[in-house]
Symmetry: C2
Subunit: 262 residues, 2 copies
Amino acid sequence: MKIALYQGPGHINDPASGFSLLAEKAAEAKAQGAELLILPEMYLSGYNIGPEAAHKFAVTAAGLAPAREAARRHNIALVFGYPEKVGDDVANSAVLIGPNGEILLNYRKTHLFGDLDRAMFKAVGTEFPVAELNGLKIGLLICYDIEFPEPARRLALAGADLILIPTAQMEPYEQVARYVLPARAYENQVYTAYANHSGQEGELSYIGLSSLCGPDGAILALAGCGEEMLYATVDPAHQAAVRKADPLLADRRPALYGPLAG
Amino acid sequence: MKIALYQGPGHINDPASGFSLLAEKAAEAKAQGAELLILPEMYLSGYNIGPEAAHKFAVTAAGLAPAREAARRHNIALVFGYPEKVGDDVANSAVLIGPNGEILLNYRKTHLFGDLDRAMFKAVGTEFPVAELNGLKIGLLICYDIEFPEPARRLALAGADLILIPTAQMEPYEQVARYVLPARAYENQVYTAYANHSGQEGELSYIGLSSLCGPDGAILALAGCGEEMLYATVDPAHQAAVRKADPLLADRRPALYGPLAG
């Protein structure tokens, strides 16, 4: 399965142009043969928008109708971040929409980042769901989540083949893009896609460096710091060979890991 | 505290010349101002020596006397791997000897690697001990252990500032040296030292690429593929600043990590 990743500037306070660009990029990715397109954290509204705008633009599943229509029209799966209305709260969420427009997976960020996240969002998420697409098991995480080994490990233990991570990663955290992403791919023997913003948003300078990594930790594609589309192919036979050569998950010793969950 | 790392060829079936080179490198490191020297996995005997030699060269603490004497004579702490006699079994162990020659820490590899390890060693280790040296808390891991996020996490949760990893890392696992080590340093906000063999040992081609990483994931020193000494300085003030800026350990959500220990 060929996958595409869009790195680009945020769409501050403007979900309408977010939906419009989403449809455009979906068409572009599909024309290149991709069956899945992943975009950044809080793609629809922009990330650094403050609590008032986050509340204003927060939507339930119904508010994602234009994205579901774009997926259906271009027959491509879509993953992107958005502010999700959960009762009176706003969650920092990401959604996987299937090529028929159905919502396959919705994830709510479990690890909120500093004052920025905490001012806008409630950590209402406690689940790490996995869904199937084209025979591959897919899990979602968001930005800061991937800096902890535990969330990706939970997805791997739930059988994830592919972990997709919309992000809004700014200076000075380049080590995350350069080292942590391929390490997560290696240690869990999964494909990863890490889709970042580029450019400036308020006082934040996004570092770009979106990446696609393979189950042996190879960096398959790495973006620069500007607007860019990346492509890579998920190869289940390669992944199976990697897992067979080194049974990393089977070699774990969970009986020794008690204090991690304590 | 300045630390030194020795990357070099194994000393197959020859602990006597291992002790001799250990003393020589201890003197060299001390002359450069280092207070701690770390050497590879199974440094004393060589790693790829087979079960018979592993049994033959296995020692208890008493058998480490020449290394304790070298530490005392050169007033420097030493860390290296050796085959440890544990009853009738052999453990793949690493020891931290203090500058007075005292044994501060002994660690038995918890995650055995493939048929190679399993032919020579028993996985008798179940503990992740931490000891103090010059006001820094130190933990040890060995080679394959570091490919799993859980062992390093256990040490970080036990307060480790510095994780020292003797290794015998061969082709084709370059991703571990390049990505996993700085990722472990970053996610746990610890200093890491990863000391590898170089050259050929039987059918194994060691990749070198020993490294010293900082608590922000920076690679402070990276070896090539030959014999080499590396140096870096552990700066507790820098480490405290990194931990204050991003409270990664405090931001963990252990209540969500139950399946990791299940």
